[in-house]
């Protein structure tokens, strides 16, 4: 696999009066060309902060990237000056969000915004940029693209707004798309449409994709590899089939058993497995494994020594993997 993105030991901190939180605590990732890697975890696990760190857009003044490497096609983005980084954003790496209005400006038409995105990175005239925009809107499945171009975002439905944001994100044919909960706010039939669209675009553009989600079923249907995050660290990674069929980290096992899904026909309603307790505060992390306070298998070593992925044989950060 030729890696388009290679992240090594990425660290992002939040500093405030409350103290210092390791929001991203030494994360390493690999994304191949045309491949989808899912980053999965619950609120506050650092998955979104990882996405923002890759683009160097962590919220200021509290957020700071303090270490690691982010190699895009071999080049370390953390070493680029800000001006060069601006050429990477939107051009080589694009990001889409759960709420399209995060990226779309309500006071400009859809067309204006995409035209601007194209002209920022490519030397084309206005008329040509407009023609490309119609093509893009068409490509993401917005009907009657020639007319929709002049609509303001609020005139579009949630699903259509998501398509418009995707059109803007792919306008410069990025090598990597970071999709942060792109379908979480959508109804299930629209979610299916958007996921199908992302898969198609990925094939057409040979784009690598990082799919950030809390939904393991979306992972099962969309990604080829998955990294499970807990409290700022990756606790397990592998192919989607390996991880979902034979999870080895107690947290991954807990998540899968807590996920409601349809029982077999005629079956009785069973109890869902619960993960007791709460995620630790990032400002007050336990000394050893972050999951130890909630883990049914925790031993003394778990409370004193942070398990690395290497401890578990490369794919699972656990002293006693299943």
């Amino acid at each position: 696999m030729s890696a388009i993105l290679e992240v090594r030991d990425l660290r992002t901190e939040f500093r405030s009066e409350a103290g210092t939180a390791q929001a991203v605590d030494g994360i390493s990732l690999l994304v191949g060309r045309g491949e989808t890697l899912a980053l999965v975890g619950e609120s506050g696990c650092g998955k979104s902060m990882t996405g923002l760190s890759l683009l160097r857009i962590v919220p200021k003044p509290y957020g700071h990237i303090v270490g690691g490497e982010i190699r895009l096609d071999g080049r370390d983005l953390l070493k680029l000056p800000e001006a060069a980084m601006r050429q990477v954003r939107g051009n080589e790496v694009a990001m889409i969000f759960q709420e399209p209005m995060t990226s779309l400006n309500p006071v400009f038409t859809i067309g204006n915004q995409i035209v601007e995105a194209i002209q920022t990175h490519r030397d084309v005239g206005k008329a040509e940029a407009r023609r490309l925009t119609v093509e893009l809107l068409d490509q993401v499945g917005i009907p009657d693209a020639g007319r929709r171009l002049d609509d303001y975002p609020h005139r579009l439905s949630g699903g259509m707004r998501q398509r418009a944001m995707i059109a803007m994100a792919i306008s410069c044919k990025p090598k990597l798309l970071i999709a942060d909960e792109p379908t979480t706010a959508l109804d299930v039939t629209v979610q299916a449409q958007i996921l199908a669209l992302l898969r198609r675009l990925q094939d057409e553009l040979e784009m690598g994709m990082i799919l950030i989600t809390h939904d393991l079923a979306v992972v099962a249907e969309t990604a080829s590899r998955v990294a499970v995050m807990y409290a700022g660290r990756i606790v397990e990674n592998g192919t989607v089939r390996e991880v979902l069929r034979h999870p080895r980290h107690p947290y991954t096992q807990g998540l899968l058993q807590a996920t409601p899904h349809a029982r077999k026909a005629g079956g009785t309603r069973r109890k869902l497995a619960e993960i007791t307790g709460l995620v630790p505060s990032l400002y007050d992390m336990p000394p050893g494994c972050a999951f130890a306070p909630r883990c049914p298998k925790a031993q003394a070593v778990c409370r004193s020594t942070v398990p690395t992925l290497a401890v578990g044989g490369g794919n699972v950060a656990c002293h006693f993997p299943g």
Binding site: Q193, A258, A265, K271
Partner: protein, 323 residues
């Protein structure tokens, strides 16, 4: 139209219920001639996408919103047209749990008072008995009674949902309407709340109308599933029937779109619907689904299909489904 009734007398019987709202530019028929029953101790899942009218239906049954027409029978009594004061004794039989308990819990009142409030309002027992029951309820839903003096903001989302459940149980209701109760919660907390709902349902023999956009949750919980589209019920059936053999073309598309957790599970072919939900202000003539239906025929655009009872007891509103 007379849908099949459950063998015993149902706890709730809704017939031809209509609720419309005037909005700028027209009228929205959010609930448009809905009929169904809920048996005692039964869990009915109500699914449908944003704007289909499922939340309005829940609130109308509870009379938090007044219906335009139709009938709501609760434990043998018609409550659809009762005045506020006449409704009062029936109110305690039915309670609601919302998606965001924070929005439904007064932030200035301690949790103990919040749970006691319904008992005060209905003058249940002595004050001392009410206080005892608050302690009992808090323990039952997994809260620590010594936290009764705290305020809602001091609790996590999952704990707040437990407060909402304790408050809903205070008057020993027969019917609990849950409107997206776990949608805002993380998975590990969601499992705790779902398990709690199942436990209290079994313990209190509650009927549950569980409203959700998440079909996996409904398929996990429900005895029967009801599917709504643009204010109409398009299909009702047992969980097994609706999940494994959906009949209405909309239900088929909806179920096929649900992402499946097991990578090796056989997946139904995805039926990807084209187009958006029509505006509820200007619903299509004939079958409300015909504009997006992959199998619609001429008749569908002119004639509204009735919700018919099939041989196996399922009910479907589609011209093309026979049996």
């Amino acid at each position: 139209m007379s849908p099949a009734t459950s063998p015993a007398e149902p706890l709730v019987s809704v017939r031809d219920l209509v609720k419309s709202f005037r909005v700028s530019g027209g009228t929205v028929r959010a609930v448009n001639g809905v009929s169904f029953d809920v048996a005692r101790a039964e869990t009915v899942g109500l699914v449908g996408e944003s704007g289909c009218g499922k939340s309005t239906l829940g609130k109308t049954i509870l009379r938090l919103i007044d219906p335009d027409s139709g009938s709501i029978v609760l434990a043998g009594a018609e409550i659809g047209r009762l005045s506020r004061s006449a409704l009062r004794p029936h109110r305690r039989r039915m309670q609601m749990i919302f998606q965001d308990p924070y929005a439904s819990l007064n932030p200035r009142i301690t949790v103990g008072r919040l749970i006691q409030e319904p008992m005060d309002a209905h003058k249940v027992g002595t004050v001392a008995e009410r206080k005892d029951r608050v302690v009992w309820l808090m323990e039952r839903v997994g809260l620590r009674p010594e936290h009764a003096e705290r305020f809602p903001h001091e609790f996590s989302g999952g704990q707040r949902q437990r407060i909402g459940i304790a408050r809903a149980l205070a008057l020993n209701p027969d019917l609990l309407i849950c409107d997206e109760p776990v949608s805002a919660l993380d998975l590990s907390v969601q499992a705790q709340v779902l398990n709690l709902l199942v436990e209290i349902q079994e313990e209190f023999k509650l009927s549950l109308l569980f409203i959700s956009h998440d079909l996996s949750v409904v398929a996990h919980l429900a005895d029967r599933i009801m599917v709504m589209y643009l204010g109409h019920i398009v299909e009702i059936g047992t969980r097994d029937a609706v999940w494994d053999q959906p009949l209405h073309p909309y239900t088929r598309a909806l179920i096929s779109a649900v992402p499946r957790l097991d990578p090796d599970e056989e997946r139904p072919t995805k039926i990807v619907l084209t187009g958006d939900l029509p505006s509820p202000m200007d619903p299509p003539a004939g079958c409300p689904f015909h504009t997006r239906c992959p199998v619609a025929v001429g008749r569908c655009s002119s004639e509204m299909p009735a919700l018919r009872v099939l041989a196996d007891g399922s009910q479907v509103a589609c011209h093309l489904v026979t049996g």
